[in-house]
C-alpha cells in the first residue's frame, strides 16, 4: 500500500533495515510476547481516497441542522455570534496550528507572544491581575477554580449557586468528589441566587462561593453582595462570567472576585457541537503561584531584547508531578489564539457595541414576548438570555419551530423541575428584528 502521508520507499526500507542490522521490520517487534501479539489487521473500514472522504463526511454533516441555515435562539452557555472572517485565517496559519506547546521559546516567540496578549486581554476584561494561557472549557475551569480555593483555604466545602450552568455544576461535583470536597447547592429565588439561603449555608468550612455572571437564566445578579458574604466567612469568591458581557458589565475583579473563569467561545469560536471551546482562568496576584496550567511571562534574551517564556513552571505537572497544582498539560492554545484575534478585531469599541446589541435585542424580545401575552418570570436586569413561560412542553414547541427553520430555546425543565414549561431564549447580535418577531409569533401560535 502506498499512501500520501507515508514517504517510505522500498529502497529506503532496505537501506534502513541494513543500517539497523535486521532482516525485516517484524524483527523490530520481536520483543512483543507472542501471547499478546496482534495478528492481521484491525477490523475497521477500508481506507478511502480524499474525494471519497469528502463525500462521506459531507453526507454526515448534511444530516445535521446547522445554525447557519436555521435561525437559532439556543444559547445556554454556547452562542451563535459574529465571527470575524479573519479569525479562521489566522488560526489556519500552520506555524500556529502544527506547533506543540512552546517548550523551546527561541522558535516559539509567535505563540508565546500571542498567549501573552491573550492573558492581557482576559485580565483586562475580568478586572483581575492576571490570567493563564487557557483551560479546556468554562466548566473544567470552574472546577479547577473550586479545587484551587479548597487547597488555598484548606477548607472542604464549596457553595455553588443553582443559577450556574447545570453542566458546569456537574463537572465541579465530579472533580470535587475526587478531592473529597463537599459541594452544596445554593437555591435560587426569582431566577437569582437566594442570598438569604446563602447566608444560612455559609460557614467557617466554606472554601468558596461560586456564582455565574450573568447567570444561567441571563440575569445580572447582585454578585457584589455575594462576594462580601464569601469574604466575611474568609472564603474565596469565584465568578463564572461570559467574557462578552464583560465588555459592558462591571468586571468581577472590581466586585470582589478572587477568581473569574468562563469560556471564550463567544469570541470567534464555532459552536462545534460543544467543543473544542476554550476556558479562561483569571485571578489575583496573591493566588498567582497556585494557578493551574501554563503561564507566559515576559523576559529578556542575552542581548536584552524582549521575549516571552513559559514561566512559574514549578506549579506544573511535568516538574512537580503529584504535587502539581493541577494535572492539566495540553490546554486550548489554538482557540485562545482564535479568541485573541476576535477580541482584537472587536477591539475596545466593538466589544462594547456587540455586548450592547445583545442586551438591547434581548430586551426587545422580552417586550415582544410580554406584548404577545407570554409571562417572562424573571424581571431583573439581563444580558442576552431571558426565560419565557409557555403552556405546552418546550420540546413540542421546539418541534414546531424547527419545521419553520427555527432552533428554539433551551428546555429548563430538563434541569429545574420547578421550571417545567419554561424556555431559555438567547438573542445575540446576529438575530434580526424580523427573526425575533417571527419567533414570538410562531411560539404564540403554538402556545395558544
Amino acid at each position: 500500500m502506498k499512501h500520501r502521508y507515508l514517504p517510505m520507499t522500498e529502497q529506503d526500507k532496505k537501506e534502513m533495515l541494513e543500517t539497523i542490522g535486521v532482516e525485516s521490520i517484524d524483527d523490530l517487534f520481536a520483543d512483543i510476547p507472542e501471547k499478546v501479539r496482534f495478528k492481521g489487521l484491525y477490523n475497521i473500514k477500508e481506507a478511502v481516497s480524499e474525494s471519497e472522504l469528502l463525500k462521506e463526511l459531507q453526507e454526515l454533516a448534511d444530516k445535521n441542522t446547522n445554525t447557519e441555515k436555521a435561525v437559532s435562539f439556543l444559547g445556554a452557555g454556547v452562542y451563535n455570534h459574529y465571527k470575524p472572517a479573519i479569525v479562521d485565517h489566522v488560526i489556519s496559519r500552520s506555524e500556529f496550528y502544527t506547533a506543540y506547546t512552546p517548550y523551546q521559546p527561541e522558535i516559539s516567540q509567535g505563540e508565546l507572544q500571542a498567549i501573552f496578549e491573550f492573558q492581557t486581554m482576559i485580565a483586562e476584561l475580568t478586572g483581575l491581575d492576571l490570567a493563564n494561557s487557557s483551560m479546556y472549557d468554562g466548566g473544567t475551569a470552574l472546577a479547577e477554580a473550586g479545587m484551587l480555593a479548597a487547597g488555598s483555604t484548606r477548607r472542604k466545602k464549596l457553595l455553588i449557586s443553582e443559577a450556574i450552568h447545570p453542566e458546569y455544576r456537574e463537572v465541579v461535583k465530579t472533580y470535587a468528589y475526587g478531592q473529597s470536597i463537599e459541594v452544596v447547592d445554593i437555591p435560587i429565588k426569582d431566577g437569582v441566587t437566594d442570598i438569604e439561603a446563602l447566608q444560612g449555608l455559609i460557614d467557617e468550612q466554606t472554601a468558596a462561593v461560586m456564582v455565574q455572571y450573568p447567570n444561567f437564566f441571563g440575569q445580572i445578579e447582585d454578585i457584589k453582595k455575594i462576594g462580601e458574604l464569601a469574604h466575611e466567612a474568609k472564603g474565596l469568591f469565584i465568578v463564572s462570567a461570559n467574557p462578552l458581557a464583560l465588555g459592558i458589565l462591571t468586571p468581577p475583579g472590581k466586585l470582589g472576585a478572587d477568581i473569574t473563569v468562563g469560556d471564550v467561545q463567544p469570541f470567534g469560536i464555532p459552536e462545534s457541537f460543544g467543543g473544542p471551546h476554550c476556558g479562561y482562568f483569571a485571578t489575583t496576584s496573591k493566588l498567582m503561584r497556585k494557578v493551574p496550567g501554563r503561564l507566559v511571562g515576559q523576559t529578556v534574551d542575552q542581548d536584552g531584547r524582549r521575549g516571552f517564556v513559559l514561566t512559574l513552571q514549578a506549579r506544573e505537572q511535568h516538574i512537580r508531578r503529584e504535587k502539581a497544582t493541577s494535572n492539566i498539560c495540553s490546554n486550548q492554545a489554538l482557540l485562545a489564539l482564535a479568541a485573541s484575534v476576535a477580541m482584537t478585531a472587536l477591539g475596545k469599541r466593538g466589544i462594547q457595541e456587540m455586548a450592547k446589541q445583545n442586551i438591547i435585542k434581548t430586551r426587545y424580545a422580552k417586550n415582544a414576548f410580554e406584548k404577545a401575552g407570554f409571562t417572562v418570570p424573571f424581571q431583573g436586569a439581563h444580558f442576552n438570555e431571558i426565560v419565557v413561560k409557555v403552556n405546552k412542553p418546550v420540546s413540542e414547541i421546539n418541534q414546531k419551530l424547527l419545521e419553520k427553520g427555527i432552533i428554539g430555546g433551551y428546555d429548563l425543565g430538563r434541569d429545574y423541575p420547578q421550571l417545567e414549561n419554561h424556555v431559555l431564549i438567547a438573542v445575540t447580535e446576529l438575530r434580526t428584528k424580523e427573526e425575533i418577531d417571527q419567533l414570538v409569533q410562531e411560539m404564540g401560535a403554538y402556545n395558544a
Binding site: 506543540y100 512552546p102 494535572n327 466593538g350 446589541q357
Partner: protein
C-alpha cells in the same frame, strides 16, 4: 524566520481605528442605564486594541513567522508524536454541519454528528481492544483523570474504597502522578530495572490490598516495549488492582499489540498525537478513554448509544456513572479530524504507520549511537532516548545541544526526560518523515557532537540564528510579568 522585534498588539493600537463589522441595530435603541443597575455598568472600558483588519493580519502573520510548526520543519519531540497534520482534516472539521451545530439541539437534528462519534468510538474500541469508549475527555491528562475516577468508583462499588494507592513507574509522564493525585490517590513509585523496564521485584513489593491501579505506558517513555507486560498485569490483578494504559505512545504498537489484549483494563488515547488532530500550539487535544466491561457502568455521563431503530441517543440514565467530566460531549472538532484520519488510513495504513514509525526510530538510533551514549541498547519502538553525558564531560550540556539544533532549523527532541536518564534526549521521528529528513537531522546531531569536541563554545552559546537568543527564565519567574501594562 522573521527577524526583528514584533510589537505587542497593544502597542500597535491607535484610538479611533476599528477591525470589526457589526450589523446596525435594527430594534429601538435603549439607554443601557435604563436596563442595567448603575453599579453593574462598566465605568472604564476594557483596554482592547484599536487596529484595522490589515493591522491584525500583519501582526499575526509576523507572529506566525516567529513560530516553528511541523509544516515549518522536522519536529522530533519525543512523546508528542509530531506527525504531519493532514489538510483535508482541517477542511472537513469546518463543514458547517459539524462546526455550526449547537450541543443542546434536539438529538434528531444532530444525528450525523452522533453517527460520526459512534463510528469513531467503534474504531477506537477495535484499535485498543476495549469494550467501550467515551470521547468526552478534552486531552490526555483529562482522560487519565477520568479513567482513574472510574477505577476509584469501581473499587468503591465493590466495597473496596480503601484502595488509595496508584503505582507509577519512575519513567512515567508527569501527568500520571498529577492525574492520580487530582483523583484523590496517593502515589507509589515503582523503579525501573537496568534494562529500563518495570522492575518486577520492586512491583511485587509495592503492590498490596491498598493498590487501586498501576499506570503504565507501553512502550514506556524510553521507547522500550515492556516485554513482561503479561506478568506485570498479573501481579497487579492478583492483588485486585486495575492496570491503566497511558496511550501517549500508541503510535508504536498499532496493529502489533492492543492494550486490551496486553491485560490493560482501561486506556486513554491522545487523538492529537496518534490520530493527527493538530497540536495547535498546546491544544485543543482530545483524550478518549476506553474500558473493559467491568468499568463500563462508571463511564462519564452521557454515554452515546445506538438504538435498535438505528438512531443515536445520549444516555443519561447511568446510576453508577462518575458524573460529568466536561460540559457537552468532548472536543468534537478534534474527534472529526481523528475520524477523517482513520478513514484515510484504513486497517492497512494504520499498520504501516506503526511499522514505519518504529523503523524510522531504530534507523536514527543506530545512526546516532556511535556519537552519543545510548543507555539502553536494544531495539526501540517509535522513539528512543540518548544521553548527552559524554558531551557533558566536555562542558556541553544537553540543553546546549538542543539550542544548537535550532540553528539547523529543527525543533529539538524532548530533553531531560524521562528523569531516569542523565542529560536525556528523547527522539521521536514519526512515520511521516522521509529518510532524507532523518539523515539530515542525524548529520546535524553528528556535527554538533563534533563541535562539542572541537569548538564547544559554538554549541554553548547557541542558538545563533533565531529571532531571540537564550531567554532569561530565572528573571521571568523571579519578577513575573504576565500581562502588558499601558505605560
Amino acid at each position: 524566520m522573521h527577524n526583528g522585534n514584533q510589537p505587542l498588539i497593544f502597542e500597535l493600537s491607535k484610538e479611533g481605528r476599528i477591525g470589526y463589522s457589526l450589523p446596525e441595530l435594527d430594534v429601538p435603541e435603549v439607554e443601557l442605564s435604563e436596563l442595567i443597575p448603575e453599579e453593574y455598568l462598566r465605568k472604564e472600558p476594557a483596554e482592547l486594541p484599536e487596529v484595522s483588519e490589515l493591522d491584525i493580519m500583519r501582526h499575526y502573520t509576523a507572529l506566525s513567522r516567529r513560530n516553528h510548526g511541523v509544516d515549518s520543519g522536522f519536529y522530533p519531540l519525543g512523546s508528542c508524536t509530531m506527525k504531519y497534520n493532514p489538510k483535508i482534516n482541517e477542511e472537513v472539521a469546518r463543514f458547517s454541519g459539524f462546526a455550526n451545530i449547537h450541543p443542546l439541539q434536539d438529538e434528531s437534528t444532530v444525528q450525523g454528528a452522533m453517527e460520526l462519534m459512534y463510528e469513531l468510538q467503534t474504531a477506537l474500541k477495535e484499535i485498543t481492544g476495549m469494550d467501550e469508549v467515551t470521547l468526552q475527555p478534552a486531552a490526555g491528562a483529562h482522560g487519565e483523570w477520568t479513567a482513574l475516577m472510574m477505577i476509584r468508583a469501581y473499587h468503591e462499588a465493590n466495597g473496596e474504597g480503601h484502595r488509595n494507592k496508584v503505582i507509577v513507574p519512575d519513567s512515567a509522564h508527569g501527568t500520571n502522578p498529577a492525574s492520580a493525585a487530582v483523583a484523590g490517590f496517593e502515589i507509589v513509585t515503582v523503579k525501573s530495572d537496568e534494562n529500563g523496564l518495570v522492575d518486577l521485584e520492586d512491583l511485587r513489593r509495592v503492590v498490596g490490598n491498598d493498590t487501586a491501579a498501576l499506570m503504565l505506558t507501553n512502550p514506556n517513555t524510553l521507547g522500550l516495549f515492556e516485554e513482561h507486560i503479561v506478568e506485570i498485569a498479573e501481579i497487579v490483578h492478583s492483588v485486585g488492582g486495575k492496570v491503566y494504559y497511558d496511550g501517549a505512545n500508541l503510535n508504536a504498537v498499532m496493529s502489533k499489540a492492543r492494550p486490551g489484549d496486553m491485560g490493560f483494563d482501561c486506556v486513554h488515547l491522545n487523538l492529537h498525537k496518534t490520530f493527527t488532530g493538530p497540536h495547535g500550539g498546546g491544544g485543543p487535544g482530545s483524550g478518549p478513554v476506553g474500558v473493559k466491561k467491568d468499568l463500563i457502568p462508571f463511564l462519564p455521563k452521557p454515554v452515546l448509544v445506538k438504538k435498535e431503530d438505528g438512531t443515536f441517543h445520549f444516555d443519561y440514565d447511568r446510576p453508577q456513572s462518575i458524573g460529568r467530566v466536561k460540559p457537552f460531549y468532548g472536543n468534537f472538532g478534534i474527534n472529526v479530524r481523528a475520524y477523517a484520519y482513520i478513514r484515510s488510513m484504513g486497517p492497512e495504513g494504520l499498520k504501516l504507520v506503526t511499522e514505519y514509525a518504529v523503523l524510522n526510530a531504530n534507523y536514527m538510533m543506530r545512526r546516532l549511537a556511535p556519537y552519543y551514549d545510548l543507555p539502553y541498547d536494544r531495539h526501540c519502538k517509535h522513539e528512543f532516548v540518548l544521553s548527552g553525558r559524554r558531551q557533558k564531560k566536555l562542558g556541553v550540556r544537553t540543553l546546549d545541544i538542543a539550542k544548537r539544533l535550532l540553528d539547523f532549523g529543527y525543533h529539538p527532541p524532548t530533553i531531560y526526560f524521562p528523569l531516569i536518564v542523565e542529560e536525556g534526549m528523547m527522539i521521536e521521528p514519526t512515520e511521516t518523515e522521509s529518510k532524507e529528513t532523518l539523515d539530515a537531522f542525524c548529520d546535524a546531531l553528528i556535527q554538533i557532537a563534533k563541535e562539542a569536541e572541537e569548538n564547544p563554545s559554538i554549541v554553548q552559546e547557541a542558538p545563533h540564528t533565531t529571532v531571540v537568543s537564550r531567554l532569561d527564565e530565572t528573571l521571568a519567574a523571579r519578577r513575573p510579568v504576565l500581562r502588558y501594562q499601558k505605560q
